[in-house]
C-alpha cells in the first residue's frame, strides 16, 4: 500500500480551482477507486459521474494528467509514481461541477442525423441475410460506448467551439455505422458535408488515440466518409464515369 497525491478540479461553472488530496493505493486500483475513496473520506460532495466501473458504459470520462481517459480503466500503476496526478473535467463541454460536464449537446447533435432506413426484408418473417464479412466493418463502430472522449480531445470542438457546425468524431463513427450498414438505403452525404461539417476534421487522429474501445476512428470512419463525400461533391470525372457506366448497366437490363 502506498499513498498517491491528486490535484482535482473543484468548482462550479466558470469558477474553479485545483484542490489537493491524497489517497491510499492498493494493488490494481484505478483512478476512479481513488476518487471514490476521497469522496467517502474527505470530500463527500466531490461530483463525479460514473456508472458501471467496468469500461462498458462510458460515463466516467475525465482528463487524467491532461489526457482524456475513462477513470475506471486507468490503473494507478500506469501513471508516473510519486508525481501528483491531475484530474480535470472534460473541456469540450459546459462545466457543471467538479468533474462533471454537461454532455447533452452530443445527444442533440445525434438526433439531427438521419435514422437507419433498411431495405425491404429478404424473407417474409422479416429476416435479412448478411455475410459476416460485410458486417465486420460496421461492428467496429458499434463498439462505441459514447464516452465522448473523442469529442473532448477533438480540437475543432475543444479549442474552436464549432459545436454548431461540426458533429465531432463520435457522431462521425455513428454516421459511418449507418452509412456503411449493409441494409441501410439512406444517403447522408449531403448532411455530412453541410450539417455535420465533416470538412472541419483535419485528421489529427487524436480521437483515435483516446478511444477506450480502440475504434480506428479516423482511418476507418472519418476518412472513408470524407471519401464518400468526395464521390458526391468533388469528383466530376468519377461522377461522369458513373453516369456512363450506369447508363451502360441499364441498357443491359
Amino acid at each position: 500500500m502506498s499513498e498517491a497525491r491528486f490535484k482535482i478540479w473543484r468548482g462550479e461553472g466558470e469558477e474553479g480551482r485545483f484542490e489537493e488530496y491524497s489517497a491510499q493505493i492498493d494493488e490494481g486500483m484505478v483512478v476512479l477507486d481513488a476518487v471514490h475513496q476521497i469522496q467517502a473520506e474527505k470530500a463527500p460532495d466531490l461530483a463525479c459521474r460514473w456508472n458501471c466501473k467496468a469500461g462498458k458504459c462510458g460515463s466516467c470520462s475525465a482528463e487524467i494528467n491532461g489526457m482524456p481517459k475513462l477513470m475506471c480503466m486507468t490503473r494507478m500503476d500506469q501513471l508516473p509514481e510519486g508525481e501528483t496526478i491531475t484530474i480535470e473535467p472534460m473541456k469540450a463541454f459546459p462545466h457543471i461541477r467538479d468533474l462533471v460536464t454537461d454532455v447533452s449537446w452530443n445527444y442533440r447533435a445525434k438526433k439531427k442525423i438521419k435514422k437507419f432506413k433498411p431495405r425491404a426484408p429478404d424473407t417474409e418473417d422479416g429476416s435479412w441475410s448478411m455475410s459476416q464479412d460485410d458486417v465486420d466493418r460496421v461492428q467496429e463502430f458499434r463498439k462505441c460506448i459514447e464516452c465522448f472522449l473523442c469529442q473532448d480531445v477533438c480540437h475543432v470542438l475543444r479549442e474552436h467551439d464549432k459545436h454548431e457546425e461540426f458533429a465531432g468524431p463520435q457522431l462521425m463513427v455513428y454516421t459511418a455505422a449507418l452509412e456503411m450498414h449493409p441494409l441501410d438505403v439512406e444517403d447522408r452525404r449531403e448532411d455530412l458535408k453541410e450539417e455535420q461539417g465533416i470538412g472541419y476534421c483535419n485528421i489529427t487522429k487524436c480521437c483515435t488515440k483516446v478511444c477506450p474501445e480502440e475504434i480506428t476512428i479516423t482511418d476507418n470512419a472519418i476518412i472513408p466518409l470524407k471519401e464518400r463525400v468526395v464521390d458526391k461533391f468533388y469528383d466530376p470525372i468519377g461522377k461522369l464515369l458513373k453516369i456512363f457506366s450506369s447508363a451502360d448497366d441499364s441498357s443491359k437490363e
Binding site: 480551482r17 484542490e19 491532461g66 508516473p80 480531445v153 449493409p182 441501410d184 461539417g197 488515440k209
Partner: protein, 266 residues
C-alpha cells in the same frame, strides 16, 4: 488540503500533460523540413541526376533533359528564358501533390507546421479555424486525382528499377543483366513508394470502401482487404518512402559526381 487557485488558461501550448508532447511535432517538423530543403535543392541542380542506367526518381520520367534517359530530347525551345530549367520541375508537382494532399501528411503537417493543434489536448495559438471545410484547404479533396497520377509513376519507377539492372559494357557496348548497389536502392525505392501508394486511403475507398456490400464480388473484396491491411501501415510507408526517395536521388547524384562508387555485386 490546499487551494492552488489555478484558472483554466487557453494560451498557446497550455496543457496539463506532463509528458514531452512537443517532441513528436518537432521531429515531424524537422523531418519534413529536411526533405523539402534537400528535394528543392536537388530539383534546382538540373544535373548529376543520372548515372549510366540509373535515373534519380526526382527526375523520372525525364520528359525533356540532357541525359540519355530523356524521352523527347533536351530543354524545349518554348521554355521561357528567364525561368531556370530543370527536368525535375516538369514532374515533381505530381508526387509532391500526392503527398501534400495525403491524409496522413495532412494531419501531420497541420500539427507540426500550423500547430492546429501541435498535439492532442494542447492549446492552440489561433482562435479562428476553417479546417478543410472552405477555401483553400477544401482543395485537399482532389487527393484521388493525384493518386491516379501516382499509380502511373509507380509503373514508370518500376521500369526505371528494371533498367537499373541492365548495364552497358563500356568496352563492347553490349547490355547485360547485373545488380549494383544502385539497382537495389532503386528497387527498394519503388517498393516503398508502391507500399505508400497502395496503402492510400483514397485507393482503399475506390477499390471497395465505396461499397457497403463486398461479399458478392470476391475480387473487389480481396483488393479492399489487401489495401486495408496496407493502410494500417500508411504512416510507416509515408516516412520510409520519403526518406528512401531522397536517399535514392542522393545515391545517384553522388555516383554521378564521382564521389561514391557504385559497387557491382555481379
Amino acid at each position: 488540503m490546499s487551494s492552488l487557485n489555478v484558472l483554466k488558461s487557453s494560451s498557446f501550448g497550455s496543457t496539463s500533460r506532463p509528458d514531452t508532447w512537443w517532441l513528436q511535432p518537432l521531429v515531424v517538423f524537422m523531418g519534413f523540413s529536411a526533405f523539402i530543403a534537400y528535394s528543392t535543392w536537388a530539383a534546382f541542380q538540373g544535373a548529376h541526376y543520372a548515372f549510366g542506367n540509373y535515373l534519380s526518381p526526382f527526375y523520372s520520367p525525364e520528359i525533356f533533359g540532357s541525359s540519355p534517359h530523356a524521352i523527347f530530347g533536351g530543354q524545349p525551345d518554348w521554355w521561357p528564358g528567364w525561368l531556370p530549367f530543370s527536368p525535375a520541375f516538369l514532374i515533381l508537382w505530381a508526387p509532391g501533390g500526392f503527398r501534400f494532399t495525403c491524409y496522413y501528411y495532412r494531419g501531420a503537417y497541420y500539427k507540426a507546421f500550423w500547430a492546429d493543434p501541435s498535439n492532442c489536448a494542447v492549446a492552440e495559438p489561433r482562435d479562428a479555424y476553417r479546417g478543410e471545410n472552405s477555401f483553400p484547404l477544401i482543395i485537399q479533396n482532389i487527393h484521388r486525382y493525384f493518386l491516379y497520377i501516382a499509380l502511373a509513376f509507380i509503373a514508370l519507377l518500376a521500369f526505371d528499377a528494371y533498367k537499373a539492372m541492365f548495364f552497358v559494357d563500356a568496352a563492347t557496348g553490349r547490355e547485360s543483366f547485373g545488380i549494383g548497389v544502385g539497382s537495389i536502392v532503386l528497387t527498394l525505392n519503388v517498393i516503398f513508394l508502391g507500399g505508400y501508394t497502395f496503402s492510400c486511403h483514397s485507393l482503399r475507398h475506390i477499390v471497395g470502401g465505396c461499397k457497403d456490400l463486398l461479399s458478392g464480388s470476391p475480387i473487389r473484396r480481396s483488393a479492399y482487404n489487401c489495401v486495408s491491411c496496407l493502410n494500417t501501415k500508411h504512416m510507416n510507408f509515408a516516412w520510409i518512402s520519403l526518406f528512401w526517395v531522397g536517399f535514392s536521388d542522393l545515391y545517384v547524384r553522388m555516383c554521378a559526381m564521382g564521389i561514391w562508387t557504385d559497387w557491382r555485386l555481379f
